[in-house]
Amino acid sequence: MSQFFDEMTNGAAEPRALYRRIAEWLRSAPPELLDARREQAEILFRKIGITFAVYGDKEAAERLIPFDIIPRLLGRDEWTRLEAGLVQRVKALNMFLTDIYGRQEIIKAGLIPQDLIFRNECYRPEMQGRRAPHDIWTHIAGIDIVRIDDEDFYVLEDNCRTPSGVSYMLEDREMMMRLLPGLFAQHAVLPVDNYPDNLLASLRSAAPPHCPGDPCIVILTPGQFNSAYYEHSFLADKLGVELVEGRDLTVRDDIVYMRTTEGEKRVDVIYRRVDDDFLDPLVFRPDSVLGAAGLMGAYLAGNVTLANAPGAGLADDKAVYTYMPEIIRFYLGEDAKLKNVRTWRCREPDALKYVLEHLSELVVKEVNGSGGYGMLVGPHASKEQIETFRQKLLRDPDGFIAQPTLSLSTCPTSLPGGVAPRHVDLRPFVLCGADGVRIVPGGLTRVALKEGSLVVNSSQGGGTKDTWVLADNAK
């Protein structure tokens, strides 16, 4: 175990001060209690209907994401450092997008190769020369963070399109307060329940500048068969806004309306959980029924805000990711506060050569992949899998990046066989409004439940934990 940073013990006999009470509780709590609480949590999640769909899995159309009842802790000072890094990063991401779709200074300065942008699948030529309302492109960002020691935070990837998981952050907290109120009360946990209020305020501030009166905000969902449908309905409920599908919308004279029982009602802000490709059949995929015809026209006319903006996906591209330290320095004149994981860009011949020689040690990711689909974890892959990836890489080197197999930190996790350390990451949610950046202290901790596994994605057998940021480091 010693090669990994364990967030509770850090390899020592005594727990870190932050985890003292958790360690005591784990020592004294009978194993039956943990088992009972774990089962209770599952029953509650099922009853509430917090489920997600796994694509390509007919057997389990609605599955639960396993919930681990042992919380993951962060100290106040750790959080303060992380928060500052997140604010910096998201500012830079928005400035980068404004620049790319505008004057393209960063390309002119020779810092980013031109073809990386213009040949990128996430680049939207329709947005070239356009400005997003208030220059905000990514209103809701999920930045995936990992730790390998008790010092630094590393960004594993940026999610600037439609990051999901925030409902789990909120529901996990509810679950902990319900299942382990005593343990919760022993810790001064900073609250996260104001996230929906923050989101609403951010969306409201992002309304088109000439929007008359109180903006009408809606959430656009692909519908109840989408894997994140629970979250869409959860957020609509917490925000008190309509949850619309494409078929509820109609566009006339570049103005978006929703069909209501009282006729049509004008819509000003759309928090869309539908990918760019499906937003508007007139502009993007013509076969899409998930968006609304004319939506892009309304957006470009400045009559509706789309959050996140079309084209924002460019910034979370895994190839662009590798340039983030340069991007931050270019726009903000600062060093990046959050580190990037060392990355080989397979588009560069030297890097490709290295990657091909070290496939069994590296993690290889598709530049445009997400959700843990289409990636190779070298140390856990079979010879055939490695050969398949070698061929993929040779065919399309531009489509891949590679990273070292990270020694992700571990946290104590309650499993049917007892408590054991498992690898975790953290996705804090960063909100950008016209009036500033908002982050609630915490985020979604994802945990790889399989022993030794480094893949935390829910579609690949990952679970979640509540994340406690403590008001003081050792109460």
Binding site: K47, G49, S233, F234, A236, L243, R247, D248, T260, T261
Partner: protein, 319 residues
């Protein structure tokens, strides 16, 4: 409110009300078919159950004999029957899930739990025609409880706005339709001449009709005499205090449609049609209804109710 949301919420109510009705119909019919043959119906009980539930056209595609085991299996558990109880619960849950934001947490968790229990029941009883009476009774109680609790949660937790009005409208309209269907199938039993013909044998038929709309006890409180067929018809059609009578249901239909119209500041064809049907019921007497033909009356009522449902969809639900 989104037109689609109104549509979903209205149908959740209709499906759950229908599930409740089917459960009561099956219960009442099992009672009568458990009687010795001397008391048995002139009309085949289980065929009439199929007609009353609207499943008589598709049933022969799947079964040869309309006996208790087959009809019960088809009405309660068959996924191939679009109006089976299990499908009503499943559709209600699908509709509720599509508008999770419109129902309260209590309502959603209740309907979701009911759906989970249904799936559990089905995995324990993979062969619907082999389900014994005890298990069936347990299931029917569960269904009635599901509908009642959904209603109750709504009554206790919902905001009194258009969402609530559409939910109530769905219940009232479905209930009116169900009562009318029972009357439509059993009308010949209620004709006055049956009194001399039937005697004690028909007593069980009449009480079955009352049971299927849970009105047996109510009958005694209202009339304080033994069961007379014209009283049964009077109770189910014209009595305003009987919650499943056609008049009472239309009192509700008009009430909720008016509430919707008032909130939106605009009344339309749906409100006008509903009020016209209610006025007709208010002006009717049971004597006149029998004179002009009970069957014709009920038939006309069902047609008008279908017309009203279309007007509601046109005015509010299709968007």
């Amino acid at each position: 409110m989104l037109a689609r949301t109104a549509d979903n919420i209205y149908w959740v109510s209709r499906y759950l009300e229908r599930a409740d009705f089917l459960a009561r119909l099956i219960e009442a019919s099992s009672r009568i078919s458990a009687l010795p043959t001397a008391y048995a119906a002139k009309q085949d009980e289980w065929t009439s159950v199929l007609i009353a539930s609207g499943a008589d056209e598709t049933f022969p595609d799947h079964f040869e004999v309309a006996n208790e085991a087959n009809v019960t299996a088809y009405l309660a558990f068959d996924a191939r029957n679009p109006s089976s109880i299990r499908n009503c619960i499943q559709f209600a849950r699908t509709n509720a899930r599509a508008v999770r934001t419109a129902v309260t947490v209590e309502m959603w968790e209740h309907i979701n739990s009911a759906w989970l229990k249904l799936k559990n029941f089905e995995s324990q009883h993979p062969e619907p025609t082999a389900i014994d009476r005890e298990a069936l009774n347990g299931f029917l109680d569960f269904v009635k409880e599901t509908s009642s609790l959904y209603d109750g949660h709504g009554y206790r937790t919902m905001l009194r706005n258009d969402v609530y009005f559409f939910a109530r409208l769905g219940v009232s309209l479905e209930r009116a339709d169900n009562t009318a269907r029972v009357l439509d199938v059993k009308y010949q039993l209620l004709l006055p001449e049956n009194e001399t013909v039937g005697g004690s044998v028909d007593y069980f038929q009449w009480s079955t009709i009352l049971r299927s709309v849970s009105a047996l006890t109510a009958y005694h409180w209202v009339y304080r005499e033994s069961i007379k067929p014209w009283n049964v018809a009077d109770l189910l059609i014209l009595r305003p205090e009987m919650p499943r009578s056609l008049l009472s249901c239309y009192g509700e239909v008009v009430r909720w449609l008016d509430a919707i119209g008032n909130q939106y500041g605009r009344h339309g064809a749906a409100q006008r049609q509903a009020r016209a049907i209610k006025r007709k019921l208010e002006g009717a007497s049971i004597k006149e209804i029998f004179q002009s033909g009970l069957h014709e009356f009920v038939d006309g009522f069902i047609t008008e109710t279908n017309g009203l449902a279309s007007a509601i969809a046109e005015q509010y639900l299709l968007g």
